[in-house]
């Protein structure tokens, strides 16, 4: 399974969207009554902002290789926002989820965390790697899990278990611009938006739910979707979220 996503990573060459799919109920909850899907878009309420630039001012030999585009907010021409975490609020995980605690790789390459936003099931172990020839330190701003701040020398790695649900900010204190997010999910109904801001939550058991959307720099969407009714094998469309740009 992992190989497939590694390939998709290679294909896209950027973020770890593929990893997210690993969470989908499809793969983790076998033999359940067919669920429905929820689709929609996350859009910015205003003009499309230009992507910011980062100041790469340390270890330039290595770090200069990365792009200096600030990925904290990526909005497509259609106003779709990438990397919004969309999830169902207060829903129980299906029995037997997650099926297995797979180690997730959390890599650092060219002074950038390979995944910008990564969703992992609660209880997962992540394998923090450093594929660069320079030192990185991984500093997690956990509030619920026990935080770490460890130097990871070139080519080495560190295993870390994530026991509690939360969204964790991860930085490297050596390279101020390095930033990533790990969403420790308590159930499989989490997803990330694509480049065009669209998302799909699959295999949702029939029922009525509240949906929430969160973006790393825009925060929680003020749009309310409190009663989304999902029917077996049906698709609920048009669950759009709007985000107010900052300032």
């Amino acid at each position: 399974m992992f190989a497939k996503h590694a390939m998709s990573l290679a294909t896209w060459g950027v973020l770890s969207l593929g990893l997210v799919a690993g969470l989908s109920a499809e793969e983790n909850t076998p033999a359940k009554p067919a669920g429905g899907s929820i689709t929609g878009k996350c859009l910015i309420d205003g003009n499309v902002p230009a992507a910011g630039k980062l100041k790469i001012d340390k270890d330039v030999e290595v770090c200069g290789k990365r792009s200096d585009v600030d990925k904290s907010l990526m909005v497509a021409k259609n106003k779709g926002i990438q990397n919004v975490v969309v999830s169902i609020k207060k829903i129980d995980a299906p029995d037997g989820w997650p099926k297995a605690q797979l180690a997730r790789i959390f890599d650092q390459k060219d002074c950038e965390f390979v995944s910008r936003v990564m969703i992992v099931p609660v209880g997962s172990q992540i394998d923090i790697k450093n594929s660069d020839p320079v030192l990185h330190n991984v500093h997690t701003y956990s509030r619920r899990n026990t935080p770490i701040n460890q130097g990871i020398p070139a080519g080495q790695s560190l295993k870390q278990k994530l026991e509690k649900e939360e969204t964790i900010k991860v930085t490297c204190d050596v390279h101020k611009w390095m930033l990533s997010w790990i969403v420790v999910a308590g159930h499989p109904y989490y997803t990330l938006t694509n480049e065009d801001g669209s998302f799909e939550l699959k295999n949702v058991p029939p029922g009525t739910y509240e949906l929430i959307a969160w973006h790393e720099s825009l925060g929680k969407s003020k749009t309310k979707h409190k009663k989304v009714e999902v029917k077996a094998d049906g698709t609920v469309e048009g669950i759009d979220f709007e985000f107010k740009p900052k300032n």
Binding site: R144, Q156, G219
Partner: protein, 1223 residues
């Protein structure tokens, strides 16, 4: 002529005498009976009998409970015992028989045989030896071979030998049998053990029950109880009810002319005082447990019953056995009424005893008797005035009723000091007090007369948080409580006084040259940034940051623009000591431009639309006549009225005003708080209060039968009737609340009228002050009983005082939060650390431990102090290093840590605890944010939890509760919505612990960036990480870190340690003595060697020993390690002038200073496990105990690598580092 006498032998009439005898005998019998009955009927005996009965009832219930609880187990045990018995009874029996048989038959016989053989041998030996003697006589001495014996002797010899052999054989047989016996008896023992195991279990199950049963028996059954103790006159023989007393060995009663041993008999009625669990609704006084057995009464507490007794704290008459006679004093009216009904109590009860009991709410005042030399008395309440306002919530223990309202003597003392009470009232605690108000000797340069006039009339109208009291418009000067008819007249009169004082103050003022710097242009934008970031907010509050918690050490600056002028403010900001040499405002070493920017910003930004000014109509006839009257009255003592009038007439208006003003400054004692020219040596005008707690009530002025005053609650604004009891504390409270109220209804000449100003204290501040004043008593306490701080404790107390006076807490956090909670196994644990999240939504909160958690459960405790006892004087994090690197264990503070295994298996520092509703969190207000608010019922409530969102403009907020508020029916994690008018007080955790500036910086940043500082995500992901690098450092465990001599130098002359800081350590102008005390404080607090500590790291022999006699190579290698790209300390750390790449906010302190500044053992531990010291620090952990890294740069285990880096840092100047970065 003698008259015939009655013929009698007696000089008295027997018959009549018989009658007299009869009656006196009857009277005697009656009085004896009366005496006996009265004795039997004594109050305390009723209490005891009552207590015994109830205690028996309690024991019975406990027995029942135990029975119920243990029934199953007991039956099980009994059942198992029976079963086992049946199962193995025959075996046991058989074994016993076998043993018995063996013993009886075989062993006995064998034993007998051995004994007989021995007896026989003795006879044979005798015979042989006596014959041998004969033989020797004949053949002479010398060694003789038995082979040469004659036949008879030879036979005897052989017989002896044979018998000896027989005995050996017989003994052997016996031993064999004994071995058999032992093995059988062991087997039997094993068998029996299968049964006795249940006996033990049964015993352990019934042990407690038996004790309880004996307790019941002791006071219930038997001849002693049923007959002796229940029969008057017989009950002295072997009483069950008897007087319980204690005689503290070192305490005496002072009877003025002599001293007597102090005997406290309080326990006679308070029988359960040392018992555990006599609490709750079922146990009312006198049958309650002491609410703080951890501190008092119990033998293991620091104030044990045997050593301290009762009256040393509670006062009262310890030797009296009646309720009234022992001088109980009611807490309040409700209790008084209750007592009057129940015990027939009257106020006269304590009139004839000099030391009536301390009402419970003031009980902590007694701490002052022995602990007066502490700056803060441990356990006697919070220190900060702000916290005092929340005293009802502080430390409620289990005794809701008595302790809920108790007051903080620490806060009382702090209020006394901060509000400058000592300016008028001498007090032994504050012998050389500073003047708390601003210096007025150059007031003309600072203020305008019209502002001063308006200010004097009502200071709080301008600044509600000011400490300046109100002198005018009080209950005897035309205020709302003035019941006299001429209030309006009085108000005019007040105007004359305020105007005159103003005139005098400006007349005495000395001019000041205040040039503004040439050629500088003020930039108010930069002024705003500087004001927010330089550190001003560490002491000053402004209303535009409504939740910046309690920075009221300096004045609130919200309206400062209406008050001051640029020239003065510029100089004040730049060099405060120029205007006020002994003021507390420190210098921030600002540039001219910076000072100008800040001053301009303050003047521009902080003002309201209606400037605060005022002046009287000086042509008004009343004004003039009042002014004249003041002058005339002043001369009347010496001059006839006409001459006095002439004096007044000769003065100009201004002369009149300054003349009257000067008299008023003297009258009101303004010089107690302010420097005024010509009054440098003025004495305080009030009464000394050093022994006020024992003031004779007869000398207290209660006014004209004043029993109640209709006033206003200063928190809720509601009308409230305040009662005045005939007690000292009641009087003190009223005197502080309405200082001139006792003038009510009396005619008093102007010069005799009360003149104490009104500080407008709130009720709980008043309670705290009364507690403090009440504790200042004239009483004989032997030195041996006093705390008499010494050594570290004394250094710490001295340091705390300086820390308070310099408001170090305003900027630095000194302590972490502390909680106690129940873990999953329902064990009570403590943790020191910080709250990381309170989620109303998920009904859970998280707490990050800064100390090791479970290590300490070995002792059932998990606090830091306990960790120190377990691990010696060192902290837990250092213990971590120990297990990482056992071969490097060094003697640290004289304690060697050997028990490493217990450390390695425990949750490390930084572990995050999850605390749900069921976690049963206990905390004081220092833990979570607390808020006092006016609930729907109109009462003030206190809530613990966290602000979950806030509208900074409106000042409204929502608050997530951590603990339920039962009175309002609110559950834990309920959300409270509050508007500003309902918020009485916000108590931020940092208040108790210091570091308020950090909060203010965060709030200012949030406001500027349009972030919500109360949104958990925005706070933890953005605000906190952004602001953390700019916050003044946390000084928790600072003593472990810094070298004392460096601290001294730094305090005397601060310099930028962290060049990226915008906030600045001010220059306080400490004396050398102060700086020494403060530097030592850190060492003392964290139990490190101070002031000097020898470090051998830089000795040649040390380096040689570490490096096979190649110190240069050793340091060379260490230097290579530090520069290795995988370690590269200088990625973040500065080294002298050399700064790292990148943005300054990611920089770290200069390593070239480490050898002067840091303790080597700290450096090593810190490098090894930074998170173990300071969870969340930006310093990454680079060296792991179980992994070898960086071997190309420095081939050694990680422990050696860290050691080498430390050694290089300590030898910086002699190392390659210094060579490559000349300083």
């Amino acid at each position: 002529m003698a008259t015939p006498k009655r013929k009698t032998d007696h000089a008295f009439n027997i018959q009549r005498l018989n009658v007299v005898f009869l009656f006196s005998a009857l009277a005697l019998i009656a009085s004896v009976i009366w005496m006996v009955i009265d004795d039997y009927d004594r109050e305390w005996k009723h209490f005891q009998r009552d207590f015994f009965a109830r205690d028996r009832e309690r024991a019975r219930l406990q027995i029942e409970e135990l029975d119920e609880q243990n029934q199953a187990a007991l039956e099980q045990a009994q059942e198992s015992k029976t079963q086992t018995l049946t199962r193995i009874e025959s075996d046991i029996e058989a074994k016993r028989d076998q043993l018995d048989k063996l013993q009886r038959e075989q062993i006995y016989r064998a034993d007998q045989l051995v004994k007989f053989a021995r007896a026989k041998l003795d006879v044979l030996r005798y015979e042989y030896e006596s014959e041998l003697t004969h033989f020797r006589v004949e053949h002479g001495e010398g060694r003789i071979d038995p082979a040469e014996f004659p036949e008879g002797l030879r036979d005897r010899y052989d017989l002896v030998v044979k018998n000896e052999q027989d005995i050996a054989k017989l003994s052997n047989d016996l031993n064999e049998l004994k071995k058999q016996e032992k093995s059988i008896s062991d087997e039997l023992g094993e068998l029996e053990k299968q049964v006795t195991v249940y006996d033990d279990e049964i015993r352990s199950l019934t042990e407690k029950r038996d004790i309880l049963a004996r307790k019941i028996e002791r006071t219930e059954s038997g001849f002693r109880n049923t007959v002796l103790d229940r029969t008057p006159m017989m009950d002295f023989i072997d009483p069950v009810t008897k007087v319980e007393w204690v005689k503290p060995p070192n305490l005496r009663d002072d009877l003025n002319f002599t001293q007597a041993e102090r005997i406290d008999m309080c326990k006679t009625c308070h029988m359960a005082i040392d018992g555990i669990g006599y609490t709750g609704d079922n146990w009312e006084h006198p049958f309650r447990s002491h609410p703080r057995l951890d501190l008092f009464v119990s033998p293991s507490s620091p104030h044990s019953y045997l050593d301290f007794g009762c009256t040393v704290c509670h006062q009262g008459r310890g030797q009296d056995l009646t309720f009234k006679g022992s001088a109980h004093v009611p807490r309040d009216d409700a209790q008084r009424e209750q007592w009057e009904e129940k015990y027939g109590w009257t106020p006269k009860a304590f009139m004839h005893w000099e030391f009536p009991m301390v009402p419970t709410q003031y009980i902590y005042s007694s701490c002052l008797k022995c602990h007066g030399d502490s700056w803060t008395i441990p356990e006697a309440g919070p220190t900060t005035v702000e916290l005092a306002a929340s005293s009802p919530a502080w430390n409620t223990v289990d005794e809701g009723a008595t302790l809920a309202g108790h007051n903080s003597v620490n806060a009382g003392r702090m209020i006394f000091y901060e509000y400058g009470c000592h300016g008028c009232h001498a007090m032994k605690d504050f012998e050389s007090p500073r003047k708390v108000g601003p210096d007025l000797r150059q007031v003309g340069a600072k203020l305008e007369p019209d502002w001063v006039y308006a200010w004097l009339l009502d200071p709080k109208a301008f600044r509600p948080t000011t400490k300046m009291p109100k002198f005018f418009g009080l209950s005897n000067s035309g205020g709302e409580l003035d019941t006299r008819a001429h209030r309006e007249q009085m108000q005019k009169f007040n105007q004359v006084e305020a105007d005159s004082i103003t005139a005098f103050l400006f007349q005495q003022s000395v001019p000041m040259d205040l040039p503004l710097p040439d050629g500088l242009e003020a930039d108010t934008e930069s002024g705003k940034t500087l004001f927010e970031n330089r550190g001003c907010l560490g002491c000053h509050a402004v209303d535009s940051l409504p939740f910046a918690p309690g920075n009221n050490f300096g004045p609130n600056l919200s309206r400062v623009g209406e008050k001051l002028n640029l020239a003065w403010l510029y100089h004040w900001v730049k060099d405060p000591k120029q205007y006020h040499p002994d003021g507390r405002m420190p210098s921030l070493r600002l540039e001219d431009q910076e000072a100008l920017d800040i001053a301009s910003y303050l003047l521009e930004a902080f003002q309201t639309e209606s400037p605060f000014r005022g002046s009287p109509d000086r042509s008004d006839a009343d004004y003039l006549s009042f002014l004249d009257a003041r002058i005339i009255e002043n001369y009347l003592d010496d001059l006839p009225i006409a001459d006095a009038q002439a004096k007044a007439d000769a003065m100009s208006l201004d002369q009149k005003r300054t003349f009257v003003g000067q008299k008023l400054v003297e009258r009101y004692g303004c010089t107690g708080c302010h420097w005024v020219n010509g009054y440098e040596d003025a004495k305080g005008i009030g009464a000394e209060l050093s022994e006020h707690g024992t003031k004779d009530l007869h000398t207290v002025d209660f006014g004209l039968e004043l029993h109640e005053v209709d006033g206003v609650d200063r928190v809720t604004g509601e009308e409230k009737t305040y009662h005045i009891d005939h007690t000292l504390h009641s009087w003190l409270g009223m005197k502080i609340r309405y200082p001139r109220i006792f003038d009510r209804g009396r005619y008093k000449a102007y010069k005799d009228a009360s003149r104490m100003p009104n500080f407008e204290f709130k009720d709980d501040q008043i309670e705290a002050l009364v507690t403090y004043l009440f504790g200042n008593r004239k009483e004989l306490i032997p030195e041996i009983m006093k705390a008499n701080l010494q050594g570290d404790a004394q250094v710490i107390a001295g340091g705390e005082r300086i820390i308070h006076d310099s408001n170090c807490y305003g900027c630095h956090q000194f302590e972490m939060h502390e909680i106690s909670y129940l873990d999953d196994d329902a064990l009570r644990r403590h943790a020191i650390g910080q709250v990381t999240e309170v989620s109303v939504e998920d009904e859970v909160s998280f707490f990050r431990a800064w100390t090791d958690q479970i290590a300490l459960t070995q002792k059932g405790q998990t606090d830091f102090a306990a960790a120190q006892t377990i691990y010696g004087a060192d902290s837990v994090p250092i213990a971590y290093e120990m297990f990482s690197n056992p071969e490097k264990i060094r003697m640290l503070a004289g304690e060697k840590i050997t028990d490493l295994e217990s450390v390695s298996v425990l949750d490390p520092v930084g572990t995050t605890l999850e605390l749900g509703v069921e976690a049963d969190i206990q905390a004081d207000v220092s833990l979570f944010t607390a808020i006092r608010f006016i609930g729907e019922d109109g009462q003030i409530h206190l809530a613990y939890g966290k602000i979950t969102s806030a509208d900074l403009e409106e000042g409204s907020l929502t608050f997530g509760l951590m603990k339920p508020i039962e009175e309002l029916g609110l559950d834990a994690f309920a959300e409270l919505e509050l508007t500003r008018d309902k918020i009485v007080q916000l108590i931020d955790p940092s208040l108790a612990l210091g570091g308020r500036l950090g909060r203010s910086l965060e709030l200012a940043y949030a406001q500027n960036e349009d972030l919500d500082p109360f949104d958990t995500d925005e706070y933890f992901n953005d605000i906190q990480p952004t602001i953390d690098p700019y916050k003044p450092p946390v000084l928790f465990r600072e003593g472990q870190k810094i070298q004392t001599p460096w601290a001294f130098e730094f305090l005397m002359n601060p310099y930028p340690l962290r060049p990226w800081f915008e906030v600045r350590m001010p220059t306080f102008g400490f004396t050398q003595e102060e700086a020494t005390t403060l530097a030592n404080y850190f060492g003392a607090k964290d139990r490190r060697q101070y002031p000097y500590n020898y470090y051998d790291e830089s000795a040649a022999s040390y380096l040689a020993a570490r490096s096979d006699d190649q110190p240069e190579q050793y340091l060379e290698n260490a230097w290579a390690l530090m520069q290795d790209p995988q370690v590269n300390c200088f990625n973040c750390h500065m080294q002298g002038e050399k700064t790292p790449e990148g943005d300054p906010s990611s920089w770290a302190p200069d390593l070239s200073m480490a050898h002067e500044r840091l303790r080597p053992e700290w450096i090593r531990s810190w490098i090894f496990d930074p998170q173990g010291f300071q969870p969340g620090t930006k310093m990454p952990q680079l060296f792991l105990s179980d992994e070898e890294r960086y071997q190309e740069a420095f081939a050694a285990p990680s422990g050696h690598q860290v050691e080498a880096i430390k050694d290089l840092l300590m030898n910086w100047t002699a190392s390659p580092a210094a060579a490559s970065n000349p300083r």
